[in-house]
């Protein structure tokens, strides 16, 4: 229990640092930025404390908002993702996901891929809806969500493979 807490705190700080220092400066094609910091919410233990996850995602988003001057946009998107995470688990891994221990960092299977995809799309859609906040930019919102989702998804999978503990 104690070691998972330390792992998660470390992950929280590391992902935020990487996001702010590197990924916020990518600006691919002028407007596409990946947001792999949401890996914190995706990789949080399946049976972990739900209230703790909600609080942690709120602060994760709030710190991102401070860095990008965006009010509460990231916080809202992160909290939404954290709250609906169990539903996404149920959708991707079947109803009884809590009994079989699901490990997201394992080999990439269609279930894991679909879970990460849904999580990223949800987060980005809420993020861009709130960030742009105007209905006359609706096509812009959808385009940005689509392109950033592809970018974030690729980075998430790469990062998962990089930090995966080696098999003994």
């Amino acid at each position: 229990m104690n070691s998972t807490f330390i792992t998660n705190s470390l992950r929280f700080v590391m992902l935020l640092a990487i996001q702010v220092v590197i990924f916020n400066n990518i600006n691919f094609l002028g407007f596409i930025n990946p947001y792999p910091y949401i890996l914190f919410i995706i990789l949080y233990p399946v049976n972990g404390n739900k209230a703790g996850l909600l609080m942690a995602s709120f602060f994760l988003g709030l710190i991102m908002d401070m860095f990008s001057n965006s009010g509460g946009v990231h916080a809202a998107a992160c909290v939404t993702l954290a709250y609906f995470r169990p539903a996404f688990f149920r959708f991707s891994f079947g109803v009884s996901y809590e009994y079989q221990t699901v490990k997201i960092t394992d080999k990439l299977s269609p279930e894991r891929f679909s879970f990460i995809l849904i999580a990223v799309v949800t987060h980005h859609l809420v993020l861009y809806l709130l960030e742009i906040f105007r209905f006359n930019f609706i096509w812009d919102i959808l385009l940005r969500t689509l392109l950033s989702t592809i970018f974030t998804l690729l980075l998430c999978i790469i990062i998962i493979y990089l930090i995966k503990p080696s098999k003994r």
Binding site: F67, N69, S70, G71, G72, A75
Partner: protein
């Protein structure tokens, strides 16, 4: 009573979610509305410190461009200086004695720059202890950059020209016809000058500068050139697409302009309105 407690215990996660979502939504709405203070901003000490450290590294990547820009600006200033000397060798444009100037100029450095959103902000190294205050104009040698939104003791955030909320009074240099400079959120190289009367003679390539009606910017600071002319069907005014002189994606040192008469002008206008 028992049932209320049971309800709260049973739905504690849902209630926590709604509470946190409510907080973040209210922060979001606050940041989208006009003239509100922003609590969550990159002007605070922690984020400012991080951006300053990042900028220390990134600064080296465009030193050459910054140098060229400074040299260009120096040449322009030298031109002004030498042309101001008349045949007797005295300087015609005498500087005003101190205490009587209207405009004060501060030096600041951009340490963070966003341009991929619809509401873009810059972070400056330089805050209240350097004399910067909210609603001062920010320019560089090429033209207008934005308006200071919020300051902390050593950092400040700037609402960039590339922000769909910003609105700057501007005019066509040749004909003195006024309009408002806005950004439609599409292309980072262009802003739009709206509400230009149909009487104005506009041509592609004409220069757009800041107008004298704004108490934030002095008159005749360059903004850009006209790229395209439209007629707004609804209002029958011209809408001009303006190609900005500034490359907003690459900013280094900037100047912050304080109009010392601003408080006086505002007080007078306020009193006139209340009469």
């Amino acid at each position: 009573m028992q049932q209320i407690f049971n309800f709260i215990l049973k739905n504690s996660n849902k209630l926590l979610f709604l509470l946190l979502l409510g907080i973040s939504l209210s922060l979001t709405i606050q940041s989208h509305s006009y003239h509100r203070s922003r609590y969550i901003s990159s002007a605070n000490a922690f984020t400012g410190f991080v951006y300053e450290k990042i900028n220390n590294v990134k600064e080296y990547l465009n030193l050459r461009e910054q140098n060229n820009q400074l040299a260009f600006e120096n040449a322009e200033l030298k031109k002004l200086l030498y042309n101001g000397v008349d045949s007797l060798g005295t300087n015609v444009s005498m500087p005003k004695p101190s205490g009587l100037e209207n405009i004060k100029v501060y030096n600041a450095k951009v340490i963070n720059n966003t341009f991929n959103s619809k509401e873009n902000y810059l972070t400056l190294l330089g805050g209240e202890k350097d004399g910067l205050k909210a609603d001062m104009g920010v320019v560089n040698s090429l033209g207008v950059v934005g308006i200071i939104e919020k300051t902390s003791s050593s950092y400040s955030t700037v609402q960039s020209v590339l922000n769909v909320k910003s609105q700057i009074n501007a005019k066509i240099k040749k004909s003195n016809h006024f309009g408002s400079l806005i950004w439609n959120g599409r292309n980072v190289g262009f802003a739009q000058l709206i509400d230009v009367p149909r009487l104005a003679s506009v041509r592609k390539g004409d220069t757009i500068v800041t107008g004298g009606r704004s108490e934030i910017f002095p008159e005749n600071i360059p903004i850009g050139t006209i790229d395209k002319v439209y007629i707004d069907k609804a209002t029958n005014y011209y809408t001009l697409n303006v190609r900005l002189f500034n490359d907003m994606t690459n900013l280094g040192h900037v100047y912050v302009i304080e109009n010392l008469k601003r408080a006086e002008i505002q007080k007078l206008e306020e009193e006139t309105k209340n009469e």
